[in-house]
Symmetry: C2
Subunit: 334 residues, 2 copies
Amino acid sequence: MSVTMKDIAKEAGVSKATVSRVINKDAYVSENTRKKVMDLVQKYDYKPHTVARGLARDLSHTLGLMIPGPPRDITDPFFLEFLHGVGNKAAEYSYSLSLPTVSEKDKRELYEEGINFNQLDGVIIVNPKVNDFRIEYFQEEDLPFVFLGRPLKNRDDVCWVDGDNVGGAYEAVEYLIEQGHEKIACITGTDEFVASRLRFKGYKQAIEENNLEFDENLIVSGEFTRESGYQKMKELIAQGNSFSAVFAVSDSMAIGAIRALKEEGIAVPEECAVMGFDGIDLGAYTEPRLTTVRQPAYELGEEAVESLINLINGNKNFNWHKVLDLELLIRDSV
Amino acid sequence: MSVTMKDIAKEAGVSKATVSRVINKDAYVSENTRKKVMDLVQKYDYKPHTVARGLARDLSHTLGLMIPGPPRDITDPFFLEFLHGVGNKAAEYSYSLSLPTVSEKDKRELYEEGINFNQLDGVIIVNPKVNDFRIEYFQEEDLPFVFLGRPLKNRDDVCWVDGDNVGGAYEAVEYLIEQGHEKIACITGTDEFVASRLRFKGYKQAIEENNLEFDENLIVSGEFTRESGYQKMKELIAQGNSFSAVFAVSDSMAIGAIRALKEEGIAVPEECAVMGFDGIDLGAYTEPRLTTVRQPAYELGEEAVESLINLINGNKNFNWHKVLDLELLIRDSV
DNA sequence: CTGAAAGCGCTTACAG
DNA sequence: CTGAAAGCGCTTACAG
C-alpha cells in the first residue's frame, strides 16, 4: 500500500482538497502550503492514483487503438511501427492502451458490441474510408478520436494525422519519369480507402503534369496485400500492354509484384522498374531491394497520441491536421 | 452517461449490493432476484464500470508489458508478433496494456523510476538473463509477473512461457547434419541471455550426439541483431577455419550472416548453408529464403496473458511453465 | 438470501 | 487561500 493523498494531507496539516490543488497546479494555493506539500510529495515520491482520479473525473486514462482487420491487419509492418510510436508516447503521458482487434466490417453493431467505449478517454482509428461511418459514430458518442489518415473531405471537426500521400506518390512517379520511364503502370488500392485515392491522384498528377499519356489500361487495383500485388501484377502482364515501370501504392503489393515479375522472367529493374509506398523494413531485403517512399510510421504514432491527448484535455489550440513529409527511399528496384 | 449499478438496483427494487452479487456470480442469491437483475442487465446492456470496480478492489485492470531496450528492441519482428498476441488476448479479457519501453540496463533504479508499478495488476517481462534481478524485484514488490522465456534454473516460484529452445536448436542442427554437413559453425548470442545458452546447448547436443567433432573455433557470439550477425560472420570467414554450414540463434543474425557471405562471394546454400532461429516474416524474403525454426510468437503472447491473469486472480491450478513446440521451417538457405 | 453502511483515493462545487 | 462534505461506481464485511 503506497502513500496516499490522505497521508500527505495529514502530515502537512492541511486537507486533502488542498493537496489535490497543489498536485493539479490549481491556482490559489499559498506559496507556503504549496511548498510544504511539495516537499512531502518529494519525500515520499507520492504519485496520484490514476484510477481513483479517473473515477472522480470520469476519465479512465486509457486510449483505444482500433487495429484494422483484414486484409490490412496488424501484422502489417507499417502498423507495427505505428503502434510502437503510439505505445511509447502513451506511456510517456502514462496513458494505458487498449488494443482490440476490430473487424473492418462496415457495421456499427460490431463496433458497439466489441468495445466498451465508455471506458476509454479517446480512440485512435486508422484507414479512413471514403464514407466512413466511424466519424459520425464517435461524434455522436462524443468520444474524442483521431484518425490515422485524412478523411476524403477536409473537415474542421475531425482531427487527423497523415503522411503526405499525394505529394509522396507524385514524387515517386516523378522519379520514375526522371529515370526515363514513359509507360508507368499503377497498382492502386481499393477505391473505398482514401489513401488509395490520394496516392493514385499523385500518380495521375505526375503523369499528366509531365505530359505523358494517362492510360486506363495500365491501372489495376489490389488490396494492399502481397498476395494481391502478386495477382494484379500477373493480370497486368497477361493483358499484354507494354510498360517499363510499375508504381504500387503499398510496399506489400510492390513486393508481391516483384515476385510475379520474376516468375514471368521479367528482370527487375532492367525490364520493369518497381516503385513501392510505405518504406517497411522488408523492402530492404527483397531482391532487388525495393525503392519506395517512406512514411514516418513511428512519428505518426507519436503525433496521433499527442493530438488525442490534446483533444481529451479540451485543448483547442493545436493543429488538428498534421501532415508529415514523406521521403523518397532510393534502393535498387528502379 | 451510461446506466449504472444504482439504476439497475432501483428498477429491480433491490440494493446495489445484490446487483453486485449477481454480476459477480456470488453464491447466495435467490434464483428469483438473480433473474430479475439479469433481465435488466440484458435490457440496458449494462456493463460494470471497470475503473470503479478497480478502485474498490484495488485493481487497475491493466497489464504492463516491459519491452526490451536495445539491442533487441521492439522493432524486432518477433516481439511485434508477440505483442500482437498479448494485445488481443488482453482485450479479450478487457484488460488494458501499458507499454513502457524500459532500458535493459541492469539497474533497479531505472525500473523504479520508470514505471508506476503500483497501478499495474501484473507485468509481462521478456528475455530472462542468467542472473535476473527482475525476479526478486517483482517478488519483493509482490506484483504478479510472467516471463517470456524461462529463467536459467527451473524455479517453482516463477511463472513463464517459452518456446522449446533446446529442442528447436537441436532439431535445426540435426537437419543440417542430415543434409550432410559435418563442420557446422554457430553464431550464438550473448552469454548473459538464457535463450542464447539454451539454443547453444541444443546445438552442442546435436553435434555430440551425432558423433561430430565439437570445435570451439567455429563458435562466435553476436548480439541478436542483423548488424552483429554480419560482423560475426565476417570474423568467422576471416579466421579461415573451414565449415559448410552456420547456425545462427536468431533470424536477424542469420540474415546479417547471409549478407556477409554474399559479400565475400560465398554462395548460399551451395558453399555455406545458413540456418536461422525465430521464423520472422522477413526470412521469407531474403535471397535465398531463410530456413529456420519458427517460434509461435503470437501464441506465446496469448499464453503469457492467460497465465498472468490466472496469477492475478490467485488461481493456483494452472501450468506455471508452458513450453510451446517449435517447428522447422524448411526454405532455401540450407 | 439481502440491505445499510463504510470504504477505495481522488475531485470539486460550496461556503467561508 | 482553505476546509468539510458529497460524490464518482463499485465491493465487502457486518448484521440480520
